[in-house]
């Protein structure tokens, strides 16, 4: 529709107009919904978890007994398992994901970039229960037959690989999680690397750097805070992943460093026991939800801090130059 200049000017000038007020109020209300939801969520979790909080206090976080028959609940193994499986996933996924992104943005021929990038991102479209099935029927037999025997022969004496491998294990969960968070980390880090100004590379290359040196010394440091953001996104996803983990982790309340031992995560026990839980058990599961929520918030806060510090350091570094 054609609009005259006069109409436009009137719209711009009419700051106190009723339309603007309504618009502002609506947006404010909409924006307020999110923090309100947050508060309501925490409130509900606290309310429902209260019987367990009162019964067990701080012991809940450290105790490793989970006995619904006796009515004793402790979340230690689940908190540990959540963090441990996520760390395993990060250790496996981060080098791979960032490697893929570097390859795709720096080295791959242009015609290859899009198909490979899309394929990696397609991993995110697979439902997690399908990952779980793949874990049970492909990954675990593969680990049992081909990976663990030689690995245990060499590294069996270390605490990481001691014990008998039954299949369902921390290792299986970690590998599965790594595959699941790979697309998140790699697609974000690809965007980040693509956003690095060409002048960075060109400057390094002009100084006589090889392409590898240019990536290592000019591109990656520039993209550092963005890459950390990508890793945190992956970590957040690993912490909360439920279904696939339930299916391969073994669901055992044990604190063990060994990767071949079964373990448990917070999300997994909620998924497993909530349906049939009543009374104190239900409250304990709510408290686990609260702890999981707290861990996720803490990890995000830590990541923010890290990104902020890295950004400040690199700003200081540039200033020093």
């Amino acid at each position: 529709m054609p609009q005259s200049d006069g109409g436009l000017a009137r719209n711009v000038r009419g700051r106190g107009g009723r339309g603007d007020t309504a618009f502002r109020v609506t947006l404010t209300a909409l924006a307020a919904i999110i923090p309100l939801l947050f508060v309501a969520l925490v409130g509900q979790l606290l309310w429902s978890a209260w019987p367990a909080i009162r019964a067990f206090g701080a012991r809940f976080l450290f105790s490793s007994t989970w006995d619904p028959v006796a009515g004793i609940y402790g979340a230690g193994p689940m908190i540990f398992g959540t963090l441990y499986s996520s760390v395993i996933a990060l250790v496996l996924a981060v080098p791979l994901a960032i490697g893929v992104s570097i390859f795709l943005t720096e080295f791959a021929p242009v015609w290859l970039r899009r198909p490979v990038g899309t394929l990696v991102e397609l991993l995110a479209a697979i439902p997690s229960v399908v990952y779980g099935l793949w874990g049970i029927f492909v990954l675990i037999p593969l680990l049992r037959t081909y990976v663990l025997p030689p690995l245990q022969a060499v590294l069996g004496w270390t605490p990481l690989f001691s014990g008998t491998f039954f299949g369902n294990s921390m290792l299986a969960a970690g590998i599965l999680l790594a595959v699941m968070i790979l697309p998140y980390i790699s697609s974000v880090s690809r965007e980040v690397l693509a956003a690095v100004p060409p002048s960075q590379r060109e400057a390094a290359l002009a100084l006589g750097a090889t392409r590898w040196e240019a990536v290592w010394s000019a591109v990656l440091p520039y993209a550092r805070s963005g890459l950390i953001g990508a890793v945190v996104l992956g970590l957040g996803r690993a912490l909360g992943e439920t279904m696939a983990v339930v299916m391969v982790i073994g669901n055992r309340h044990d604190l063990s460093l060994s990767l071949v031992d079964p373990g448990y995560t917070m999300a997994a026990i909620i998924a497993n026991e909530f349906n049939e839980a009543t009374g104190l058990q239900r409250a304990a599961l709510f408290e686990i939800g609260l702890v999981l929520f707290g861990v996720t918030v803490a990890v995000n806060a830590l990541a923010r801090l890290l990104v902020w510090r890295v950004a400040r350091d690199s700003a200081a570094g540039s200033a020093a130059l």
């Binding site: 073994g250 049939e276 009543t278």
Partner: protein
């Protein structure tokens, strides 16, 4: 333009729908929720019954026994369903206003992965408890060898698999172990989820069966119907009379018949079929119950529900075997009938027996 047409069509459809609804005679709507184990047969019954009785519309949500008891207690459903009977505290929470009606029988069976062993492995209850306590750790343990004469059991580590989710299946299994092993009763006890001394947890029957099928040397427990449909190897268990009995629909039905002796006319059906007497009785069986209110406010609903239950207990039982459930023995019907007659609405009985239509 297109939007207007769409809106008009929608409006027209809504009007038609509303007219259809209001035009129909009053339909009695009955909502139920609870146990997942009988879900398949409950859905089959409901589909058959709804189509034969247009005046009644039944719905059943398989949210788990615990959820079923919860919703029944909260009054958000018209009937509940559970694989484990309500405890005395739970019954007190509904002021005793509940009837447990047994609907079909379920059984929990041991399944294992022993390449090369073709015979059904025979377990004594004591050995099973010892395996699940982590005391018998190898398949060629003397306790297993002595109950399996002539079978070559491999020198292999036993990998114990249990359910990771809270379930009636675990309840029945741990009730069995608790009943027959005082050590199990003292150390672990019975429940929908317990503190398992050893083993790995699989989610659902499918999770346990996947773990067992994938892990040589493993032992797990699943519902009988699930094992039958998936043709899994199942073990025989020594029963009350000292015979090793392989689980099947007839040996499970025999468990209810065997427990009949203990059922007086004043029973509330909250009885255990664990280790019931009888030569051919499989010892790890259980009823699955519907939970209904004894006193009701809505007589139309109460009457419709009781009629449906009676139909399921008589004609409905014929569907059981094909779906992997063991039907109730006929001897129990008069007892259930007497209980259903006690259902009242506003003080008067809603059902006077099978003759009433």
């Amino acid at each position: 333009m297109r939007t207007t047409t769409l809106l008009r069509t929608l409006a027209a459809a809504t009007v038609t729908l509303l007219a259809a609804c209001s035009g129909q005679k009053q339909v009695v709507l009955l909502n139920g929720a609870g146990a997942t184990f009988p879900n398949i047969i409950y859905q089959k019954w409901i589909t058959d019954y709804n189509s034969a009785n247009p005046g009644v519309e039944l719905n059943y949500q398989s949210i788990g026994s615990g959820g079923g008891i919860q919703q029944f207690t909260d009054g958000t459903v018209d009937f509940g369903a559970s694989d484990a009977p309500m405890g005395d505290e739970e019954i007190a929470a509904v002021n005793g206003n509940v009837l447990h009606i047994p609907m079909v029988l379920g059984a929990v069976v041991p399944t294992y992965n022993l390449p090369g062993v073709t015979e059904a492995v025979r377990f004594t209850p004591e050995t099973l408890a010892a395996i699940y306590l982590g005391q018998v750790t190898r398949w060629n343990d003397i306790r297993l060898r002595s109950s399996n004469p002539g079978v070559t059991l491999p020198d292999q580590e036993i990998v114990v698999v249990h359910r990771s989710d809270g379930s009636g299946t675990s309840y029945i299994w741990t009730e069995f172990l608790s009943t027959l092993s005082s050590e199990w009763a003292a150390k672990v006890g019975k429940g929908k989820s317990v503190n398992w001394p050893v083993g790995i947890g699989g989610r659902g029957n499918e999770g346990v069966s996947a773990a067992v099928q994938q892990t040589p040397g493993s032992i797990g427990y699943v519902e009988l119907g699930y094992a039958m449909i998936n043709k899994m190897p199942v073990g025989a268990i020594r029963n009350h009379d000292g015979n090793f009995v392989t689980p099947d629909l007839s040996t499970v039905s025999a468990a209810a018949a065997g427990a009949m002796a203990a059922l007086g006319s004043d029973t509330d059906f909250r009885i255990s079929l664990i280790n019931a007497a009888g030569e051919r009785t499989y010892p790890v069986a259980s009823f699955t119950w519907l939970l209904v209110h004894r006193e009701n406010a809505d007589s139309a609903k109460a009457a419709a529900l009781v009629r449906y239950i009676w139909w399921a207990l008589t004609q409905g039982q014929q569907a059981a075997e094909a779906l992997g459930y063991a039907p109730l023995p006929a001897e129990i019907l008069p007892l259930v009938e007497a209980h259903l007659r006690t259902v009242t609405a506003n003080g008067s009985a809603v059902w006077s027996g099978p003759a009433t239509k």
